[in-house]
Symmetry: D2
Subunit: 91 residues, 4 copies
């Protein structure tokens, strides 16, 4: 069985490589003793970028796995699992 | 003038290197077609780790730069700036 | 057609009445000049309570409306709509 | 001693009364069996309004109590307390 994000995989990987680069950029800022607030603004940007990856993946998962489970009458567990994950993102 | 996080720098860098490794780990999970929900759980963990770095840096900044500004009667701008940053993290 | 939260309605209403009471309680704290931090702790509690209502309603909606839409081959719009709402909660 | 939000009190109370009205409005929507997504959009709006009240109060507290504590060399505890509260809002 294929994963829900199969068609979106390259897009997600590209975004995550960008996030990885941003995290390295923040390390560099600290090493160069850049002003705290400038570092914090970058941290908030990475956080927002990660949330977008999360949301894209939740969408892929819902369109793929949850939909399949629902159609095959196994929707209850799929939705339980989805809700657990959403609760973690809403924390 | 030193930055607010001067004494905490190695700690922050260590945490960010860990976050960077986690982001690479998530890319690997996608490449291995791991189950969406497992990937999402890791994403939520990275997000929480980033928030902790952000909070630690806000604390350093407040104890260092904001305190200095307040003592030197330049607190108003420092607090304006701090609030702008908090607003970004609360979004 | 019934709403997705039909069976959960009394539970949601009870929680919202409790949130309403908490919001009134915070107004009282302000009128009594209670310490800022105590007020903030209550505000954070109300926020967490609201998030729980939101999550419960998202669950009802997914188990009800989204499931129905998926089974009736109208899942695409239902998931678009769900994602828009999740994006607002993740902000 | 006055609270940090003394001058902002009427503004905060007005906002909280508005939040209270919004929470009652959501109860009414549920009683009228309004569509889940419309209810969720209102919930997200209330959450954003509460965050703004929280941020305004954090600002008042920082400009008032934290500043006073810092000037009187009792800043350490004041900042510890502030960070605990921020951590709750960032959850």
């Amino acid at each position: 069985m294929t994963v829900g994000y199969a068609e979106d995989k390259q897009n997600l990987l590209r975004r995550l490589r960008r996030v990885e680069g941003q995290v390295r950029g923040i390390q560099r800022m600290l090493e160069e003793d850049r002003y705290c607030v400038d570092v914090l603004i970058q941290l908030a940007a990475v956080r927002a970028a990660l949330d977008k990856v999360g949301l894209a993946l939740i969408e892929d998962h819902t369109r793929g796995c949850v939909r399949n489970a629902l159609v095959n009458n196994q929707g209850d567990e799929a939705i339980d699992e989805l809700m657990d994950v959403l609760a973690q993102f809403l924390k």
